[in-house]
């Protein structure tokens, strides 16, 4: 008889606040009989937690440790140091897997199986009854809009079809935690919009999602919570990342832009200036009224004001540069 911990019961009831907890995770890859200097430290002392109903994006350059972190949470690999739990259970345990849906980066299916047969196969592996399997399979096909290719062999699938099927498998029986590795690979723009809507539905239902993706523009549409990783460490995450997005204030003036800028602003804040336009560095949106007031006081005749913040891609590139220069 499996004894449930309090956390596990809370997770099932939707009360458990933290679905994933990682403490001091370190992962070193070393081939058998290889020397220590050939070992690769993919993850260094990573600690994080994902709460219920949170969608988190893992971003970072190649080799940052995103897939390693995802694989550790999924229990596919063991940490060299540290521990990771899912709803209070060790990640590699059978009990933890009850709360987990995993979608790998390159999904592969038995070639002779149709999508329907693949879904039935994975539903059976979840331990569902025959009636539940039939219900789950139909629901998954409807949810992921796979009606057109549900009865075609998986060997004929395009990349987008494989992604949909893999996502359907991961989402089967609505696990509290979804781990998605590059879920938007091969999806067309409509598919990405549908994926976003689906993830938002899951979040509203209380599921947690951790997504690893290189496609920052698409990730930006899926979530606003990020964990930025670089060389095996977490550099920034959550609110720190979004707060660090720098802003640029573009102010249009009738004339004498240079003179006004010289009179009203320190030179370090002026990014660029010409006769009819000023580009000013802004730390916080709250600074905008003060800047505009100072410009008006200096005699500027303002025609337009536009605040632009770095998008996630620009933050990513900036953080990569900062990380490389350290």
């Amino acid at each position: 008889m499996l004894v449930q911990t309090e956390q596990e019961t809370a997770c099932e009831a939707g009360v458990q606040p933290m679905v994933v907890e990682c403490h001091g995770l370190t992962k070193v890859f070393r081939r058998p009989f290889a020397s220590l200097d050939k070992a690769v430290c993919a993850l260094r002392d990573v600690s994080l937690s994902v709460r219920r109903g949170q969608i988190v994006g893992l971003i970072g350059p190649n080799g940052a440790g995103k897939s390693t972190l995802l694989n550790l949470i999924a229990g596919l690999i063991l940490p060299t140091q540290g521990r990771v739990t899912i709803c209070g259970r060790p990640a590699r345990s059978v009990a933890a897997r009850r709360y987990l849906g995993f979608m790998p980066e390159h999904p592969v299916f038995p070639g002779l199986y149709t999508a329907r047969a693949v879904l039935r196969y994975h539903a059976a592996l979840l331990g569902l009854s025959a009636q539940s399997i039939a219900r789950q399979v139909d629901a998954s096909i409807q949810r992921l809009h796979m009606q057109e290719f549900a009865d075609r062999p998986a060997s004929d699938f395009s990349q987008g079809m494989k992604q949909r099927l893999a996502l359907a498998i991961a989402m089967m029986s609505d696990p509290p935690l979804l781990l998605l590795d590059e879920p938007s690979n091969g999806l067309d723009p409509i598919g990405i919009v549908e994926l976003r809507d689906l993830l938002q539905q899951l979040r509203d239902a209380g599921a947690s999602v951790v997504i690893s993706s290189h496609r920052l523009g698409e990730l930006e549409k899926l979530t606003s919570d990020y964990i930025f990783m670089h060389r095996g460490r977490i550099v920034q995450f959550g609110d720190e990342l979004t707060a660090s997005q720098a802003g640029q204030l573009r102010v249009g003036v009738v004339s004498d832009g240079e003179a006004v800028a010289r009179a009203a602003l320190p030179s370090s804040r002026v990014l660029s200036v010409c006769d009819t336009e000023l580009m000013i560095a802004i730390g916080e949106p709250d600074e905008v009224p003060d800047v505009v007031r100072d410009l008006v006081a200096a005699g500027a005749k303002i025609t337009s004001v536009l605040l632009r913040r770095e998008n996630i891609e620009e933050v990513f590139l900036r953080l990569c540069d900062e990380g490389d220069s350290r």
Binding site: L76, L78, Y121, G127, L128, S129
Partner: protein, 254 residues
Amino acid sequence: MRAYELIRETYFRRSYIWIAHLSWLAVYGVFWWSFVPAKTETMGKFILIGSGLFLALTLSAGILGDDIASGRICVLVTKPFWTGKLYLFRWIGLSLQAAVHLLLTGVLLGVLDLLTPKNSIEGLGVWLLATWLLFNAVAALSTSLSVVLGRAFNSLLLLVVFVAGYLLMNALMVLLRGEAGAGWLTAFVRYAWPPFELLRKFAGGEYGPHALTVGRFSLSHSVACVVHSLVLTCVYGAVGILLLCRRQFSRVRE
């Protein structure tokens, strides 16, 4: 349902499985028809080597290696069941395949014997049983090896290793005859290697010094041979299950 689906997937994973089965049945039929073995023993040995060794390796050698190399196993081992069941049900699927194959072989040879009553198939059942036992043991060993190798389609490699290992053991036993090490080597070949010789003697009716026990009755020798084969199969399987449960499923990053 889980067991059923895993066993079913073993049957339908590749279309070459059906080609392999049908090809071997055709080979047995041709052998019977063309070479007209005078004694059942000749046909029995042919089936023992063909199905017990070659077919077993063909079907089982890459079975888990294929899953590991393709990455399919990454989703399977995140499902909420003991990872060892993956190995177990795959092996049961192979064993059932072999049982069906050997039943069909028996039916085929029975029909051929009716059509051409120039050979006796008396005792063929024991040979088919011995073949099934050998198949199970070889399939368990090669499935366990495929967990370590983690590569698909390594049948040829395993076949070379098996044959080379067998020849090497025999050569060493001849060279070391009379030496202290010969006893250990003989014991290893007799008890730890897939029991080809033992099952050949079991099916062929010999119960001489190679038998596991020293009982006076042929039934005890027969039971001992069967038990030995099953124990070896369980040991190979246990090793494979242990390796699979402890294995990590990720590539090394360079």
